[in-house]
């Protein structure tokens, strides 16, 4: 296997006393898609911001045994190298395209700017390239739309512009952080299909971050579940949905409102709330909410292998209830 596009070992992120990411390790290769799922505060976004060196260095402390993108060490990289990385090797799509796009410039201009910066095209080539990219992401009448400003696009179309901007630098790795959360379900389905098509066609490495496990079922080859800044389970998608091993994953799956099951079966809530991240966590972070906890959970469980390429941080893997 060739070296992974993204390699991360034991990532730690702290905002002062708040320990947001507590030892996350992952790897993504070309053509692979990894889904990362977790609630607000699980550390999923903080993890992905670290990949692009986007944390404010005055507010956040980021450390890792290894953090490299395309062979480049992100932690020791200078601001110039990081700028070349973002929008170049790594494309990003965020939840809210209205705040990620500049309201003062036309959609075409913003895409063209990436083309000129990362692909060294001249003004005219870049303008044509921008129109071609808008067409590629399914914006109708791309020539006219290239001359419009972000506020003139609907939520779904704006997200397509954002995707075109991310693709302009011909990235090898695409990071999507809740790209469909603000959208209608119908539009969500279109955006999912679009990103999936692009990923498969260009064999991009894809990391999709979300709080919605149902959404990942279609896109992700592998799924990683984060809780309180730690990986609690990871497995190939088929395995994770069919046989979730960690009680938190089981809980998350049962909270999804499913249309493919009888109406009487209500989504069941996980009682309680995630732990505070500004205090030390003793033992298993999920134990206070866990229906299967026992004495051993006072000690923090490591990731225990549950199958090929699959692991869960739960003592119940060794001692079934």
């Amino acid at each position: 296997m060739s070296a992974p596009l993204l390699a991360m070992t034991n990532l730690q992120v702290r905002f002062g006393a708040l320990h947001a990411v507590r030892g996350v390790s992952l790897a993504v290769g070309a053509g692979e898609s990894l889904g990362i799922v977790g609630e607000s505060g699980s550390g999923k976004s903080a993890t992905m911001l670290s990949v692009m060196g986007l944390h404010d260095r005055r507010a956040a402390w980021v450390g890792a045994d290894q953090l490299s993108v395309g062979g480049m060490d992100v932690l020791s990289a200078g601001e110039d190298q990081l700028r070349a990385l973002r929008g170049g090797q790594v494309g990003m799509v965020f939840q809210d395209p209205l705040s990620a796009l500049n309201p003062l410039f036309t959609a075409g201009f913003q895409i063209a700017e990436v083309l000129r910066r990362h692909r060294d095209l001249d003004r005219r080539q870049a303008r044509e390239g921008a129109v071609a990219l808008l067409a590629q992401v399914g914006v109708p009448d791309p020539k006219r739309r290239a001359g419009q400003y972000p506020h003139q696009f609907s939520g779904g179309m704006r997200q397509r512009v954002m995707i075109a901007t991310a693709l302009a630098g011909e990235p090898k790795l695409l990071i999507a952080d809740e790209p469909t959360t603000a959208l209608d379900v119908t539009v969500q389905a279109e955006i999912v299909r679009l990103i999936q098509d692009i990923q498969e066609r260009s064999r991009l490495g894809l990391v999709w971050v979300t709080h919605d496990l149902a959404l990942l079922a279609r896109i992700a080859d592998r799924v990683m579940v984060l809780y309180a800044g730690q990986v609690v389970e990871q497995a190939p998608a088929a395995e994770l949905y069919a046989r979730p091993r960690h009680p938190y994953t089981v809980g998350l799956l049962s909270t999804v409102a499913r249309l493919d099951q009888p109406r009487g079966q209500r989504a069941r809530a996980i009682p309680g709330q995630p732990p505070r991240l500004d205090l030390p966590i003793v033992g298993c972070a999920f134990a206070p909410r866990c229906p299967l906890r026992f004495e051993r959970c006072l000690e923090a469980p490591p990731l225990i292998e549950t199958g090929p390429d699959a692991a869960a941080a739960c003592w119940r893997v060794e001692t079934p209830a």
Binding site: E39, S40, P140, D141, S154, G155, G156, M157, D184, V185, T186, V187, Q188, A189, E190, V192, R193, H211, D212, L213, A214, L215, A217, R218, A220, A237, A238, Y241, G251, L252, L253, T255, V256, A257, R258, L259, D260, R263, R266, A267, R268, A269, I270, P271, Q273
Partner: protein, 344 residues
């Protein structure tokens, strides 16, 4: 059966842009947010109103509480016409009909302590004196699963889910009979959504409430709704008992909405054809001719481009506004031929 809340031939239109007298282009443009809706909600019912953003569902929900001024038609609450009520009489009614908003971050005053925010509706409507209000607030915090001591704290100290609990407590504290919840879950994590749905169900039993849930996500409302109304561009296109609509969606738009919801099962999910619904919601300023859904409809026929279907009952129990279900003779056979729609 008399309705608790009722809309009859309701229209809510907004003028946008410059006022007509200043506009050179003649009369100003009009957004037809709600464009001819009949809806009855019986006491004790939970009705879900579903559709994409821009379909007018929030405006309809607000108009039922007369938070929007109707352009035409009637809004009744407990058989009284709200549109002709004086400001004072309307204010007296407000305690009985309340609203929960999508965004618990903006629906609470950041400078008001939780206890003050909860007591406010009681004091405004003269339901309590300030001492008994304090007791009532403490009781209500128990009911929504928050510690009584949070009354002294401010909204920013709470998570989204906790804040939504406060907003719900505030809506329910004055013993209303009717609550309109506008996307009350969509700003929350999936895991928290289930908790808040449980809370809504619990409050309904405890206080004999009637709900209108406004949502873009059919899966979420499926387990709480007795009836579902699907809205498209200012009109209700399908309405019926939740089990009928979910088991046998009749309108092609309802089918598309249901198709769009992901299922947590990779095998099924990868086999599923998604994104079948092409294009975007047309502008409510210039709705398409005939059936408003026809430019996006996979089953459009020639008649759909010309004639507007009305909401009529179909065999499976619900009512549908679609020419596919028009009784024989409703349209000449020639007009039932499918048309191919040019897609860009």
């Amino acid at each position: 059966m008399s309705a608790l809340s009722e809309a009859i031939a309701l229209k809510v239109h907004y003028a946008v842009g410059a006022p007509a007298w200043r506009s050179r282009a003649g009369p100003g443009r009009v957004v037809r947010a709600v464009d001819g809706v009949d809806l009855q909600i019986a006491a004790g019912e939970t009705v879900a109103l579903v559709g994409e953003s821009g379909c007018g569902k929030s405006t309809l929900g607000r108009a039922l509480l007369r938070l929007e001024e109707p352009t035409a038609g009637v809004v009744r609450f407990e058989e009284r016409d709200l549109t002709t009520l004086s400001a004072e009489h309307l204010r007296q009614r407000r305690a009985a009909m309340r609203m929960v908003f999508q965004d618990p971050f903006s629906s609470l005053n950041p400078r008001m302590r939780i206890g003050e925010a909860l007591a406010e509706p009681l004091l405004v409507h003269g339901l309590c004196n300030s001492r008994s209000a304090r007791e009532r607030v403490a009781e209500m915090l128990d009911v929504v699963g928050l510690d009584r001591r949070v009354a002294a704290r401010y909204p920013h100290e709470f998570s989204g889910g906790q804040r939504q609990r406060v907003a719900i407590a505030r809506a329910v504290i004055g013993n209303p009979r009717f609550v309109v919840a506008d996307e009350p879950l969509s700003a929350l994590d999936i895991s928290v959504q289930a908790q808040i749905l449980d809370l809504f169900a619990d409050l309904k039993d405890r206080f004999a409430l009637t709900y209108l849930f406004v949502s873009h996500d059919l899966a979420v409302v499926r387990h709480v709704a007795d009836r579902v109304a699907v809205m498209y561009l200012g009109r209700i296109v399908e309405m019926g008992a939740a089990e009928d609509v979910f088991a046998r969606p009749a309108h092609p738009y309802t089918q598309a909405l249901l198709d769009a919801v992901p299922v947590p099962d990779p095998t099924r999910e990868r086999a599923r054809i998604i994104g079948r619904l092409q294009g975007e919601l047309p502008s409510p300023m210039a709705p398409p001719s005939g059936c408003r859904f026809h430019p996006r409809c996979p089953r459009a026929m020639s008649i759909c481009q010309r004639d507007d279907p009305s909401l009529l009952p179909v065999a499976s129990g619900q009512a549908v506004a679609c020419w596919l279900y028009a009784p024989e003779g409703g349209a000449p056979a020639a007009e039932r031929t499918p048309v191919s729609l040019a897609s860009p």
